[in-house]
């Protein structure tokens, strides 16, 4: 393949990686919770898109928005488990608890749906479009575009609404936020809900372009962490940039390395950034707290 088509392919995939990572970032930023079950929630998003497509013929691009409230509910419930943990012990305890939730979700999916690989084949799945000499499938294009739009909307939500600003303020300094009248617990719960909704939506955009199977989440969690490390824990913009970098790096690596070595790119990037720039490529400084 041409270099330019590798880059273009990588950029489109990267937008979806960005969407997966945004939810992880916002949850960590506000609550110091490392949500290991994030990838499995993406998996749930994929399965719910698949079911609604198989049973009712609803396009994943529509059903993902219909199921979003359920994901919000799921997120709020998971947060109820995590809320009592004191902030000082959050990072480690939440890691273990959400890892447990991850296993429960993945094995439940295994019980219910079996280990079969499922696909969502849309009427236009085979159609391609030509972008600067690169042939791109319709679903890939739509999924990437939706991811970009969702991230931009989320960014606007964080900067332009009272609740969005309260989420950011809580991430920076929860005591000061509380003193201004912010109900920190409710904001945290809503943030967790929103992060889970974003993961569910990511599952929706992935369903038409990726295999659906119970342990698919583990692929995404690693990539999401790499994106977060690349972009820094701070912002939506960082997640977009991190996703794009990872997407391109992966596409290039896939072309030049043996297929079985492809995933090494993610880990090399991951460790490299942690080693040389622990705050992320764009994360300037430690947060003030």
């Amino acid at each position: 393949m041409l270099l330019s088509s590798l880059v273009i392919n990588g950029l489109f995939t990267g937008l979806i990686y960005g969407l997966i990572a945004v939810g992880l970032t916002v949850i960590f930023g506000v609550m110091r919770i490392i949500n290991m079950s994030h990838g499995d929630i993406v998996m749930l998003g994929m399965y719910s898109a698949w079911i609604l497509f198989e049973k009712f013929g609803v396009s994943p691009y529509v059903s993902m928005f219909l199921t979003a409230p359920l994901f919000f509910l799921l997120g709020s419930l998971i947060y109820e488990i995590l809320d009592p943990i004191p902030l000082k012990r959050r990072e480690m305890s939440s890691l273990i608890i959400t890892l447990g939730i991850s296993f429960v979700l993945a094995t439940s999916a295994m019980l219910i749906f079996t280990a079969d690989y499922r696909t969502v084949t849309l009427p236009y799945s085979q159609r391609v479009i030509d972008i600067l000499g690169t042939r791109l499938g319709y679903p890939a294009l739509i999924s990437s575009a939706i991811s970009l739009v969702l991230m931009c909307l989320f960014r606007l939500f964080l900067s332009r609404t009272h609740i969005g600003r309260a989420i950011r303020a809580t991430a920076i300094d929860r005591t000061s936020a509380a003193l201004l009248g912010v109900n920190v617990k409710r904001i945290s719960q809503a943030t967790f809900g929103a992060g889970v909704v974003l993961a569910g939506l990511a599952g929706g955009v992935l369903a038409p372009i990726y295999y659906v199977y119970p342990f698919v989440g583990s692929n995404f969690i690693i990539k999401a962490f790499a994106v977060v490390v690349l972009g820094g824990m701070e912002s939506v913009t960082g997640a977009i940039a991190g996703g794009l970098i990872l997407g391109v790096a992966e596409a290039l690596g896939g072309a030049f390395l043996e297929h079985s070595l492809k995933d090494i790119i993610v880990f090399v990037l991951f460790l490299g950034v942690l080693f040389f720039r622990p705050t992320g490529l764009f994360g300037g400084r430690e947060r003030n707290r």
């Binding site: 309260a166 000061s176 509380a178 201004l180 009248g181 003030n288």
Partner: protein, 247 residues
Amino acid sequence: MLELKQVTAGYGKIDVLRGVSLEARAGEITALVGPNGAGKSTLLRSISGTVVSAAGSITFKGIPLSGRPPHKIASMGIAHVQEGRMVFGSMSVEENLLMGAYLKDRRGKIKESMAFVTGLFPRLRERMRQQAGTLSGGEQQMLALGRALMMRPELILLDEPSLGLAPLLVDTIYSSLETLNREGLTILLVEQNVRRALTYSQRAYVLENGEVILQGRSADILVDSAVTSAYLGVPLEGEDRLIRQSL
């Protein structure tokens, strides 16, 4: 307006406040002075709910505050400007001010509140789009105060507003406090700069080792400088500043 009776509070098993009784009267500036570690900040925190008091009662306009979370206390009309200003550094000045008007019933008055705050601190109007973390110490103090005013509080708890500021800026901050007080705002002021605090307040409490050791009209306490230096070992204002600079 605000009344504390025999309040005991602290962190873990250590009591920082030991049976403190205090009153902040409506429309007055009440000063709370005392050496480092006397429990001044802890007292403000136990009022705003960020520290839970172990015993005693705190009432605001007759309503008990104990057991209420900070955001509920904030919604009752009490603003707390913490020591070290604590603005949201990676947010813009405007966003910081908007956060002050976060509570639902304050949102309708954002325009008026903004006009009031920028009238009081014109410097903030020039810096609206700038990141709060890039402001100077004095500007951050103005922002912290302005953000609290966006809450349209009846009572404001101020923790060390002059800390680390150049004398000229301290004057600016204090003259704005005078203006606010004249317009009816009740202020409970914690200040290490004893002379400054006693000059601007109507009544004062001297706190030492978590207990009130002296209280009365500020003017009386100020005149009785023998008393203040005996209890506090307070250096003159000039020396005070020198010591602080050398720290």
